[in-house]
């Protein structure tokens, strides 16, 4: 491989979001500063009798409004649709020309890549369940596959294809004409932070000039919510959905499932300057590790989380004392919030209690694969506006958790460097550090 010792600086030149709190950056951000949230009864499917009957849905969103060529995207999954909306916003901000054969944005298309942490699309649930009902023989415990095939042959092949997790990247490629390095990863709840981190590394090492990164996911479907419910990972506070996501409280009882997409344009500083586009922040560090412990639980001493945070600090070449704001994974599960607090205390030592740590999942819900990128956007905004978004619903602090979680109201504070942590089911830990840009 080319021995590149070059270490390009990597900056962020665009961002876009489609999430339960809105379909554009400013609406979402103002909502957060007002302590609003996007959680309500589930409407995507009938969850009336589910242990959890609420979620953070994206509402009234039409991806086709974002494209001149809706016919190229007409079968796209919910998640890919969100990705299209967020990517178009981000590309506009970064002045990347889309839907044209003759882009004038001075980006070599073979050096324009895509790296998403994106999830699978929902099955065609009616046919899925009906096929089992028709073909299952409860007496013999067997499926009649012939009968099953007769039902499932009604499925639309294009929609089946669109369930593949790489399809969100495919739609963005068609929109932008990107011909550079393209990958899609799915490391559960850590996916889009990992995507941003690895994408940054590719630009740093000279494999691409610009990468459209971030994540997209919707698991608010009958099997997804069932799966998380059976794991007892979701809050079941059906009588008060809007207060259900309450990270770091004593009464937290699980996360609130959300959906959405968040796209970030990563660009080499050289390219951004050459193109004269505004720079929103610089990505200075990335660290990644595995717990190698259990598929069901985080490492009890937070070993993996600590390793990832330390790796990111080392990569950035800074000390823990330099971090002004931590955007934690902060899911509102008993285990995560406890272990994550432990990890922060282990790394940040005497500074731990003085660094604001606020979980916007209290407002956004948990966007699963898209969560990390959406939350990284709030870090960019915290730097831009020198405001820390709050952890809402924090009225009964867990006595065992004693960091500064920025309860309930936003806080003015100069933020120069912010850190985003994401941890995935199975033990993938990813941490990205961003900084206010200065020459």
């Amino acid at each position: 491989m080319i021995k590149s010792n070059e270490k390009n600086r990597v900056v962020i030149t665009g961002m876009g979001i489609v999430c339960p709190m809105g379909h554009d950056i400013e609406t979402v951000w103002q909502g957060m500063l007002a302590g609003k949230n996007g959680v309500a009864r589930t409407t995507i499917f009938d969850a009336t009798t589910y242990p959890t009957n609420f979620s953070a849905e994206v509402k009234n969103f039409d991806p086709m409004k974002y494209t001149k060529n809706p016919h190229l995207h007409k079968y796209c999954s919910r998640g890919s649709g969100f990705a299209i909306g967020a990517a178009v916003q981000a590309c506009r901000q970064a002045k990347i020309d889309i839907e044209t054969d003759h882009p004038a944005d001075k980006i070599d298309r073979t050096r324009l890549g895509i790296y998403l942490g994106a999830g699978e699309g929902s099955l065609d649930n009616d046919i899925f369940f009906d096929s089992i009902v028709q073909a299952w023989n409860g007496q013999t415990g067997q499926m009649d596959w012939l009968k099953w095939a007769q039902v499932t042959c009604k499925l639309n092949p294009n929609k089946e294809l669109e369930q593949e997790p790489q399809m969100a990247a495919a739609h963005i490629a068609i929109l932008t004409g990107a011909r550079g390095p393209t990958r899609s990863c799915l490391t559960a709840c850590a996916a889009s932070t990992q995507a941003v981190g690895e994408a940054m590394m590719m630009i740093r090492r000279g494999y691409a000039d610009v990468i459209i990164s971030g994540g997209a996911h919707s698991m608010i479907h009958p099997l997804g919510v069932m799966g998380f419910n059976r794991l007892t990972a979701l809050s079941t506070r059906n009588d008060s959905p809007e207060t259900a996501s309450r990270p770091f409280t004593a009464s937290r009882d699980g996360f609130v499932i959300g959906e959405g997409a968040a796209i970030i344009i990563l660009e080499s500083l050289t390219s951004a300057k050459k193109r004269g586009v505004p720079i929103l922040a610089e990505v200075i560090g990335y660290g990644s590790s595995s717990d190698a412990f259990r598929v069901t639980d985080m490492h009890e001493d937070a070993r993996g989380a600590i390793q990832a945070i330390v790796a990111a600090l080392n990569d950035a070449g800074i000390s823990y004392k330099d971090i002004d704001y931590i955007s934690p994974h902060g899911t509102s599960t008993q285990e995560n919030d406890y272990i994550e607090t432990k990890a922060i205390k282990a790394v940040f030592k005497e500074c731990a209690k003085n660094i604001p740590v606020s979980s916007v999942k209290s407002m956004l819900g948990h966007l699963i694969g898209a969560a990390g990128a959406a939350e990284l956007i709030t870090c960019i905004l915290a730097i831009r506006d020198n405001i820390i978004p709050p952890t809402i619903n924090l009225h009964d602090p867990d006595p065992a958790l004693d960091l500064d979680y920025v309860p309930n109201v936003p806080r003015r504070k100069h933020v120069n460097i912010a850190m985003k942590e994401s941890f995935g089911f199975g033990g993938q830990n990813n941490v990205v550090i961003i900084k206010r840009f200065s020459e």
Binding site: A178, R179, S289
Partner: protein
């Protein structure tokens, strides 16, 4: 440390040609076909009734005693990856906690893992009793499913089917504490996981990486998709041996199968220092996009794949004249094979007439996220043995295909080999291997 060379020091595979990478190589050398009638379920209602299925295996043999209770959380895709990882590690001489906790010779924090995986289809028979409990008046009723069906689903059900669980289980078994990623780019996934792993070693964030992919495609849901998309051939159900015909004039589609392949990538200096056997250097990687709104196919001129190939050669700092072998993606889907052939021609120019092209899927079938790494392992063996086995079922090249398909075995020194892949959805990738002997 930074910008290290990356070498391959171990390989492992379970494929339709056998339980180990050596079996696979022997099968390929003998022109054996791993494709047969589907036995995993009754395929009567499917337009394609063929698949490449791996031989029976005992997963317990590959999982340390202390971890065997986790086997019930492993979908078949996960099991296959565990088997391939075991062989690759043994082959490399690296002793992890999962190989022998008494003789560990590696720092777990300096190991990384990056596997490609597909969307894992849930076991419908496992889920069926729960769905049946949701039947009301002969129809599925989601409210009844919510009250009566749920309890019949095993609590950890979801964890069996998350794509990242391949890397997680392998990582836990072998105590891999560095970066772990899961690339979900279907048939291009393994190349991309290898590319990323190599970049992670090159930049100094790990010394040893397990990379590759696994997918158990022989289940009704995944097979149905390939039939609906008309990617699977429906013309050869009575003749499995000749069903999959990459680049052949009478090709009518691919045959899908299951498998896993994992290679050990290592910082070259460190591998030499520990006296490791080195198969080849991972000399270059390239990736790009095919832009085709007919998402299931490569764009007709293959341009996105051409870019990946050109970038891989550039990364390896070589010219086409130094390449002696190409293992193409070659699925037997006529439109895609033609586009790939054009991509190779455009990227390699006149040299394409000389370079031998060895498609393997006529024997291995298209094994999804595993397919790319099985090809790379095949190339590694060919390089090591100085031998390119004959391809199979390419009796008369398709119109427009100008590739030099190897029709009889050739003994030759392979200086550099190229393997490429692409997937529905458009991601393309290429890897260049360098012979160090």
């Amino acid at each position: 440390m930074d910008s290290a060379d990356v070498v391959i020091t171990g390989v492992g595979a379970i494929s339709p040609l056998g339980a180990t990478s050596k079996d696979m190589w022997q099968g390929l050398c003998n022109g054996r076909c791993g494709i047969g009638k589907i036995t995993a379920f009754d395929p009567a209602g499917f337009s394609c009734k063929l698949a490449g299925q791996v031989p029976e295996y005992k997963i317990q043999s590959f999982v340390p005693k202390s971890y065997r209770k986790a086997i019930k959380l492993m979908a078949r895709d996960i099991e296959l990856s565990v088997i391939a990882a075991y062989e690759a590690l043994i082959d490399s001489g690296i002793v992890t906690k999962g190989i022998d906790p008494e003789k560990i010779n590696v720092d777990p924090t300096r190991m990384s893992i990056n596997l490609a995986s597909g969307i894992i289809s849930c076991d419908l028979i496992e889920l069926a009793p729960a769905v049946a409990a949701g039947i009301k008046d002969g129809k599925f009723d989601i409210r009844k499913w919510g009250t009566d069906g749920f309890a019949l689903v095993t609590p950890l059900w979801l964890l069996k089917y998350l794509p990242n669980m391949l890397a997680c289980h392998v990582g836990i078994i072998h105590d891999i504490q560095g970066p772990s990623n899961t690339i979900t780019c279907a048939e291009a996934g393994a190349h991309l996981s290898i590319a990323e792993s190599a970049q992670i070693i090159a930049r100094g964030d790990s010394d040893i990486a397990l990379a590759g992919g696994a997918e158990a495609k022989v289940n009704p849901w995944i097979m149905l998709r390939q039939c609906l998309l008309k990617r699977a051939t429906s013309q050869s159900n009575d003749d499995p041996e000749t069903a999959c015909r990459p680049f052949d004039a009478s090709a009518t589609g691919s045959v899908f199968g299951e498998g896993a392949g994992i290679i050990i990538l290592e910082n070259k200096q460190k591998a030499e220092k520990r006296g490791a056997k080195i198969y080849a250097e991972l000399a270059g990687v390239g990736h790009s996009n095919s832009l085709n709104p007919a998402y299931e196919h490569l764009e007709p001129d293959g341009y996105g794949l051409q870019i990946a190939i050109e970038k891989a050669l550039e990364d390896a700092q070589i010219k086409p004249r130094e390449l002696d072998l190409i293992v193409p993606h070659g699925t037997g889907i006529p439109a895609d094979d033609l586009a790939e052939s054009k991509a190779l021609e455009a990227a390699l120019g006149e040299e394409i007439k000389r370079i031998l092209v060895w498609p393997t899927k006529s024997m291995l079938s298209t094994t999804g996220a595993a397919s790319g790494v099985l090809d790379i392992i095949a190339a590694v063996y060919a390089m090591k043995e100085g031998r390119i086995p004959a391809s199979k079922n390419c009796d008369k090249k398709a119109a427009g295909c100008n590739l030099n398909i190897v029709t009889k075995p050739v003994q030759t020194k392979i200086r550099y080999a190229l393997s490429c892949s692409y997937t529905y959805g458009g991601q393309t990738a290429a890897v260049v291997l360098k012979n160090l002997s």
